[in-house]
């Protein structure tokens, strides 16, 4: 402040803009008077002679709730509906707003609540077969002779070398080296990829790719187009997934030999072309099948009838999330805009043979620290106990302050018979594997002893998904 005054910025409005003092979270409410006192001191004047900056409302603190307003109707926002929307409602789906989308949360039977329904749905997937509407996943057509080059530049791993008819899981970083989004990209043809993104980040990724092509790499012969609305998608997962899908599709051999894990094929659904990839979010033998959107409801009804006949059925968003926690896949709660590849246990995915967005800044010393919060699995020490997402992870006997980390995702596991969760804890598995922590939930006044384990709770060898 004194230096600024010495340089001539000794009037309140000038000094505010020169130093940015008063522009931060307090908006000058606490800092302004102190600053004015320093100016007065530097100029040898009385505080009252200095004046103030222009005050703007709010003049007194306002709660965030007052600014956000009441939760009422759609707030004039549009609603997005999946091609299967009406078919899902016919089936009794309880819908959940996720962004602008309405997605099936769970499918109650009788008086079931969500907790009862999602466990039943999970059990069906693990034991028989389940189908899930995944049409809301972001889908982007990446086309052109340089499509592979574009993906190589935005994903941390290689895609130019991916063979036609294969899919690969990819992670993209922001410029600053933090994880931005993940998903699988399928190589449909020599010059065409079918990129999938998370539902939440679909718009952001699409805008990001457009920006890159228009500003940084206008010379690339690659085009990106959102095809989220073009395709309806169904995930078919469980031990009987292959048999169910084979009964609904033609012109495709789904056998393990002809269609291995991470394979991509084109088939026919009632004589219309469809795209199929053998990929798994749940850890089960699973496929994603996409048909043109107007045929989505027809595909859903055929698959549902087949699944029901086999003792399976539909599963919703709650079960989808719980299945991925059991498998230890990261999702939205872990990709929180702060995590690096290493934090999420994905560091080995990063190519050392090519540059990619974020490849330089991810190596900043602070992002490479070993004591950063890193992904771990958590189980209750007393197996009957539960814990909540958002709980703070602390050392035993020191349940104060910010702790050592936090719990990102939890679920009850019908397969393992107890609760389990994913979390990010300082030092990760290297520091805590096999040791105890405390999950502190100060809002509810609960404390649960948890043990740190590897995050892959179910079938870590991948036997099920390669079946």
């Amino acid at each position: 402040m004194r230096q600024a005054c010495a340089e001539g910025y000794d009037a309140p409005e000038l000094l505010k803009r020169y130093t940015t003092l008063g522009m931060a979270t307090d908006q000058g409410r606490t800092s302004a008077v102190n600053a004015l006192a320093l100016i007065a001191d530097a100029r040898g004047r009385q505080l009252a002679e200095i004046g103030t900056t222009t005050f703007r409302p709010p003049f007194t603190p306002v709660s965030i709730g007052a600014l956000a307003g009441a939760e009422r109707d759609q707030h004039l926002l549009p609603t997005r509906r999946s091609p299967m929307h009406d078919a899902l409602l016919e089936q009794g789906a309880r819908m959940l707003e996720t962004g602008l989308w309405l997605r099936p949360w769970f499918y109650p039977q009788g008086d079931e609540d969500v907790d009862q329904a999602y466990l039943r749905e999970m059990h069906r997937v693990r034991e028989v077969v389940g189908i899930c509407d995944v049409s809301t996943l972001g889908k982007i057509a990446v086309q052109g002779p340089d499509a592979g080059e574009l993906l190589d530049r935005v994903y941390v791993n290689a895609f130019k070398s991916l063979a036609v008819g294969k899919a690969r899981y990819g992670v993209m970083l922001r410029d600053d080296g933090i994880v931005m989004d993940d998903g699988t990209s399928w190589r449909i043809a020599e010059h065409e990829y079918f990129m999938t993104t998370t539902t939440a980040n679909a718009g952001k990724v699409m805008a990001w790719l457009e920006e890159l092509l228009e500003t940084r790499w206008p010379g690339l012969r690659a085009a990106v187009t959102s095809v989220t609305d073009q395709w309806a998608g169904v995930s078919v997962a469980g031990p009987q997934a292959r048999a169910l899908l084979q009964s609904a599709l033609t012109n495709v051999d789904l056998s393990n030999e002809a269609f291995p894990f991470m394979g991509v094929r084109e088939g026919r659904f009632q004589n219309e072309p469809c795209r199929i990839a053998r990929i798994s979010f749940s850890g089960e033998l699973a496929y994603e099948v996409y048909v043109p959107a107007d045929h989505g409801a027809a595909l859903w009804r055929v698959l549902l009838a087949g699944a029901t006949t086999r003792g399976g059925g539909a599963y919703g968003l709650e079960a989808l999330g719980a299945l991925r926690v059991e498998k230890g896949h990261v999702g939205g709660p872990e990709l929180d805009g702060r995590a690096t590849l290493e934090d999420l246990g994905l560091g080995r995915m990063a190519s050392t043979k090519k540059p990619f967005i974020g490849s330089v800044l991810r190596l900043r010393p602070d992002l490479q620290r070993k004591d950063r919060a890193q992904l771990v699995g958590l189980v209750p020490v007393v197996r009957g106990e539960t814990f909540k997402g958002g709980s703070i992870l602390c050392e035993t006997g020191d349940e104060t302050g910010h702790g050592l980390g936090w719990i990102t995702s939890v679920t009850e596991s019908p397969s393992l018979g107890h609760w389990l969760g994913l979390g990010l804890v300082r030092g990760g598995l290297d520091a805590w594997l096999g040791r105890e922590l405390v999950a502190s939930d100060p809002i509810r006044g609960r404390v649960t002893r948890v043990k740190v384990v590897a995050p892959h709770f179910l079938d870590p060898e991948g036997t099920r998904l390669h079946a």
Binding site: L76, L77, P78, T79, R80, R81, S82, P83, D86, W101, A141, Q143, G144, P145, H191, E192, P218, R221, A223, T225, V227, T228, D229, Q230, W231, F269, Q270, N271, E272, V291, P292, A293, D294, H295, G296, A297, A298, L299
Partner: protein
Amino acid sequence: MPERASSLARTRAVPDLSCRSCAALVQYHAWPDRYGEMTGALATRCGIANAPAAGKAVSGAIGSLLRIHPQRLWLISEQTRDHPEIIPEIGVALDLSHARTIIHVAEDIVVPLLSHFIAIDLRPHRFAIDDVATTPLHRVSVALWRRADGIDILAPRSFARSIWDVLAEAAERLRYTNARPRAAGRAARGCLP
């Protein structure tokens, strides 16, 4: 062929709003230095003398070409799913036939209805037949295409029902407010001493 379900299948019917079907909507994207070659090739295949200028549509034997982007054309065909291919050295083609729902607004209510939602002057002498524009509507990016009998709104399929609902509500309110003053006026005259 499997049953084809429109995104507007369960919307309430409203006079002056309808769903227009199309057999194919194909996007053509040209590489920056090859746009002229692409449009020339497409115009020939579509039986069109000249490809459309920016913000215009031109119709030919197998459909209409719309210039919706500096590097992109949309081919919309109501009759056939067949469409011309282009070589990758010039550009790429992409089927979007299921990605857009076409909401047709009858000419009589185009200006009074859409003026509530869109900041484009849609009066016929300013936005004439075969004029094309991309604009937000109900916070969603849509394409507008002036036809002889009204305007086609090419809306992303997943948003179509939501857009239909706000248009339908506004259209009903429009009829109500247009009708009431006349009735009130007659009634008022009848009450004069």
